[in-house]
Symmetry: C2
Subunit: 382 residues, 2 copies
Amino acid sequence: MKSSPVRDLLALTQRPEVISFAGGLPAPELFDVDGWRDAFAKAAEDRRNLQYATTEGNPVLRGVLAERMTRRGLPTADSDLLVTTGSQQALTLVTTALLEPGDVVAVEEPTYLAALQCFQLAGARVVPVASDEHGMVPSALAEVLERDRPTLVYVVATFANPSGRTLPASRRREIAALAEQHDVWVVEDDPYGELRYRGEPVPQLATYGDKVLHLGSLSKIGAPGLRLGWLRAPRSLMPAAVIAKQAADLHTSTIDQAAAAAYLTGVDLDRHVAGLCAAYRERRDTMIAALPDTVPAGTVWSDPDGGMFVWLRLLGPVDTADLLRNALDHNVAFVPGAPFFATTPDTATMRLSFTTNPPEEIVEGMRRLAAAFTSPSAAGGR
Amino acid sequence: MKSSPVRDLLALTQRPEVISFAGGLPAPELFDVDGWRDAFAKAAEDRRNLQYATTEGNPVLRGVLAERMTRRGLPTADSDLLVTTGSQQALTLVTTALLEPGDVVAVEEPTYLAALQCFQLAGARVVPVASDEHGMVPSALAEVLERDRPTLVYVVATFANPSGRTLPASRRREIAALAEQHDVWVVEDDPYGELRYRGEPVPQLATYGDKVLHLGSLSKIGAPGLRLGWLRAPRSLMPAAVIAKQAADLHTSTIDQAAAAAYLTGVDLDRHVAGLCAAYRERRDTMIAALPDTVPAGTVWSDPDGGMFVWLRLLGPVDTADLLRNALDHNVAFVPGAPFFATTPDTATMRLSFTTNPPEEIVEGMRRLAAAFTSPSAAGGR
C-alpha cells in the first residue's frame, strides 16, 4: 500500500512560505465562520447531540439535503439518503457493500486518486476507460463492459478531479443506459457540481437511470472540516450500505450533523454558493491568464467550466515529480499527475488547484512556478 | 449481510414510553453539556477548524491523549496515535490493514457484535476461543493459535461487552506472550476501562507486549456523539493504518477534534470520570439488587466490577429473542444474547445495560421486565 502523494504533500505545503496549488482545499477565508459558529452554538445546547444516534443520519439533515437535491433536479426522498463521514466514506461504503476482491472497477482516466486507493484496498482490479476532453467515452465504456465485466463504474461527471472535465448530457444518457443494459452500478461522485463559473448546469448522471449511485458532499459548498457527505442509493442497496456504515463508524458525528441541519435551515446556501462561484471564477481566470507566461512552450491545459482544478500536460518526456522538488525550492507546490492514472501513468501531467489562494497569491505563485520551470533542476537531474 | 440487532432495536426503544436496557448508551444527563458547549464555542472561532486536516489527527488532541494514556500506565508518544472516527473505525482500519479474505480472527466468546460484523464484512473466518468468568482462557487461545493460525486476536480485556468480564493480569501476560511467540496481532478494544466501580485497575493488555494494538475512545468518558476514538499502534503498522484511514474518510472531523482538544485541556476529566463512576456504581447496584425478584429461578448473571453491562443466562431451552417481544409489549427492552456469539449462539443469554437510566427508572424497568417474564408469551408462542 502506498500513501497518497496529495496528502503526504500537505505536510510540506503547510510551511507558511509555500503557496500551494496542490491540495484540493476550498478557500478558508470564504468559510461562513459566523454561520457555522451559530449553528454549532445551537447544536451544542441540546445534550442529545452528544449521544449516539441512528446510522442513517440526522432526520432534519436528510430532509434538507433531499429537498435541495430535488430542487437541483434529482428527485430524492429522505429515505434515499445515508449520511456519511464525508463523501470519501460514501465511496468506501459502496466499495464494501458491492466489491469482492478480484472484481473489476472501470474508471475514467485520469481519475480521483483516493478513489483508486479505495478500490485497490478492496482488492479490486481497476480498468481505465478511454476518456477525452469531454470525459469518459461511452463507446470505450461499452467495450470495457463487454470485455472486463466490471462490477462498478466510477465517474466524477462534473468538473472532474483532476481533469476539470464535464461529461455532456448525451454521454450521461448513454452511460446510464449502458449501466442498465449490463446491470452494473455506476458511482457518480459529485463534490464539485455546484461550483459552476460558466455555462448551463448539466443534469446529474443519476437523473438518467436507476443504476447510478450518487455521492454528495458539503465539503466544497459548506466546510470540509465537518466531514459531511451522503450516499443516494436505491432501496435495494441501502440495507447493505447501512451495515457497512455500522461497521465503519456506527454513525457520523451527531453534533456535526445537527450543526449542519441548523446551518442549512438557517442560511441561504444558494447565496453563499453564488459568492463562492464569483470568487472562484476570478481565481480560475487569474490562473488561466497567467499560464502562458508560466509554463514551457508546448504545454496544454484545461480551462474548466467549474470545480477546483486546472490539468496540464507538458511537452515531451518529463516527470513532473522532479519539477515538484524544484517548485518546492521556489516555495510553490502542485500535484504531479501520475498517481491519478490507474495503470499507465502519464508523468508529463500535473494538477493545479485555483480555489485555495486569493488572486494576488495566485499571481505570485505562478511567478514562482515560472521560475521553477526555467531554473536548472537539482544536481543529478533526478 | 445482516443488520445489527442492537442498532435495529434503537428504533423501537426510542419510543418514549420504553425503558431501554438495550443499547450501550451512556447516561445523557451526565454529559458535561456546559464543558462541551464551551469547547465547541472555542473551536468554532477558528476557521482552520472548518478546513481539511491531516489524516493522523489534531496534534494537540494526540498530545493530551498520549499524556493521559501514559499517566494511566501505558507509555504512549503522540506519534503512536491515530485519531479515528470512534474506536469502531479504529477496528475497521486494523481489519483493512491486516486482514485478507479467508484469514482467521480469534475472539473471546461471547464478544462485541459490531466487531463480529466488521470481521465478517472483511471476509474473515471468526474462531471463538473458550472463555470463562475471567475472560479468554490462555491455554484455549494457545490451541487455537496452533490449529487455526489466526491473523488477529480480538479482546475487550476490561469490562467486556457483553459479558462484563475482566481479564486478570496473569492472563494478560500469557496472552501477550503467546502473541509474540506466534507473531500474531492482538487487538485490545478498551472503551470501558476507566469505568471501574470496584477493585483495583489492571494494567492494559498493551503494557505486556509489542504485538498488542490498543483501541481507545472518548465515547464512554466524554461523549459518543463526537465519534472520537484512537488507535495506538507500533511504528511498523502506522503507515498502513493511515492509508486505510485516508480511504475511509480522509480524516476525522476537524472541529470535533479541536473541540475535544479544547475540552481535554480545559476540564478535569479525571474528576468527571469519578462522577460517572459514582453514578454508574449506584445504577449497577440497583440493577443487581433487583435481579433476584426479576428473573426466573435458575437464572445466573454477572456482577461486573465496571463497564456498562450485566450478562444473564436463563435456565433451560429458551430464546430470549421471544422474550424481547414480550418485554417490548411491557415497554422495556434488552438485547438478546445470540448475536454476540461467533458460531454457536446461546439463545438463553441476554444483555442488560445499567448506565443509560437513573436508578428510579431501573427499578421501574426491572418491574416491567419481571412482568414480561411471568406473563404468557404472545399467541403462537413466537
